[in-house]
Symmetry: C2
Subunit: 211 residues, 2 copies
């Protein structure tokens, strides 16, 4: 039983941070990356054309449409989406290699993407960021100023529905003050490192006198 | 689904700290109690006679043997054991009332007791404390000086076997330095407060405009 668990769950934690737009997951993830410079991240595959200065294997893995479709068919993407005719996806092998080395990996992703990952890699840790209230969510989206009133209204209408996806996640963090919320996510990340599936190997080592 | 989860898991965290004797769970739990004065604890039921100064409902709930046997039959004990002809047990209702009020409760208990609790209340958080090595475990039991060489040898012989029970727990903490180990248990306790089963009610409140 122990060994089975060990094989299923790599030592590193795949931390998936998600939530409705306007909840503030971007700010929180940036704080996490600032605080944990060694935190692993994924490089997405995409079928869109490289822009000026973008390097294959650094900014993205640039692929053709048939290549990505082949990866999808083979289950080589943890999640993917089609946006304006281009594919974007998270390569399973790239992420798994980091986790197997014991590195924690942070993925900041929308709800649809997170739920795809959960189906394909339930051993990940799924954190859902919620705004303190719908009024605050609305205020944040307005303040951002990048969206038309039309888009904002559509977003607000779906926000309540989106929030109920929280039930599919492992943890819920209320983002009242981003700094505090980021600390809570850090706490979750640390606690998850002590999970039995990630630490049982220590017991094996102690019993064999290797510890 | 959300409401179902809410009904199953109370807001407070039942933290069960366990492990082989000599692993240091007593020291760690004392540190936790010192750091968290509001931490709830259970009052055990027992059939043994009150000693001088012991108060019913403070030190123990003193019961007769038929009363405790009746509690066992009705599933009113989270765990129990018979020691030298006396029953000792953890009353479910007392602990659940604290958890329902949102108070975290710490239980320091041996492996057999912890596994009983897990069967009856899997929503608890089960932390297994392990020594850094079998040599260190042996040194600690010797140093304690309360056990005969005979008892120590029997303990050491069973220690390796006992350690494999770690697989039944949620988290494993290596107790190399008690202070550090206690901090890790605190981290687990905090993270568990954000578990979806304990926080989904917030989403309900946000959606209803109560937050």
């Amino acid at each position: 039983m122990a060994n089975q668990k060990e094989n299923v769950t790599p030592k590193g934690v795949l931390l998936v941070v998600s939530g409705p737009s306007g909840a503030g997951k971007g700010t929180i993830c940036q704080m996490l990356r600032d605080r944990l410079p060694d935190l692993g991240y994924s490089i997405s595959v995409t079928t869109r054309q490289p822009r000026n200065g973008e390097v294959d294997g650094v900014n993205y893995f640039f692929k053709t449409v048939p290549e990505v479709q082949d990866m999808i068919a083979k289950g080589e993407l943890l999640e993917y989406a089609e946006v304006y005719g281009n594919y974007y996806g998270t390569p399973r092998k790239y992420v798994m290699d980091l986790l197997d080395k014991g590195q924690d990996v942070l993925l900041e992703i929308d709800i649809q993407g997170a739920l795809q990952i959960k189906k394909r890699f339930p051993e990940g840790v799924f954190v859902f960021i919620v705004p303190p209230s719908l009024e605050e969510l609305s205020a944040r989206i307005y303040k951002r100023g990048t969206d038309s009133v039309d888009v904002i209204e559509r977003r607000m209408a779906s926000a309540a529905g989106e929030l109920t996806y929280a039930a599919e996640y492992d943890y819920i963090i209320v983002n009242d003050i981003a700094e505090k919320a980021a600390n809570k996510v850090l706490t979750i990340m640390e606690a998850e490192r002590y999970r039995v599936a990630r630490t049982y190997f220590i017991v094996d080592e102690i019993c064999k006198g290797k510890a």
